[in-house]
Point group: C2
Chain length 110, copies 2
């Protein structure tokens, strides 16, 4: 009895834009409302989370995350509408890929 | 402009049976005719290659690799007919998956 698994990632012009780990950070930002709290909730250093978010933005066609580092309302990190679309697309393709692979495995006799 | 990439692997009852790295070892065994030469050609220790082959066999429904450790004709490592079928299936599903993901990415506006 076999199972088939996969990891997918989307690359932009200069490297990885989105993968499963980055999606986890984005979902944590959505839940926690700030990058520092999101990093903490994932047991990740702020520096690492910041670098990953920076790399997402640099490799995306539009900004995925906007970080406000201060001001009257404090900091706060937001996912842009484009970022929301990227999350949804990634999760959708990922799910479709799993279904596709399950069908592929069934179609082959092993 | 985005590209989408993937890694797939097949798991058996107790863990990973086949993945891209293991397929490389099997193809190197086919080319070199022995596990030690295959390991060397991949810059991998014999011990690591042996452990990976052992894990493939343990997690497959039938043996993938047969190793003869001595005898008149020396050692020599062979891929079983079932192993050949597993290699072909893996590479086929992997290629289908890449095509599927390219289509998926095209079908989404980003």
């Amino acid at each position: 009895m076999y199972t088939i698994k996969s990891r997918i990632w989307i690359e932009g012009i200069d490297g990885v834009c989105l993968g499963e780990g980055r999606i986890k950070i984005l979902n944590a930002i959505l839940k926690e409302g700030s990058l520092s709290k999101a990093a903490k909730s994932l047991g990740m250093s702020y520096k690492k989370a910041w670098n990953l978010v920076d790399s997402m933005n640099k490799n995306a066609n539009q900004h995925i995350v906007i970080t406000n580092t201060g001001g009257t309302g404090g900091g706060g990190t937001k996912i842009t509408p484009y970022g929301m679309q990227m999350i949804e697309t990634f999760e959708n393709i990922n799910k479709n890929c799993w279904e596709f692979l399950d069908e592929q495995l069934k179609a082959h006799t092993l």
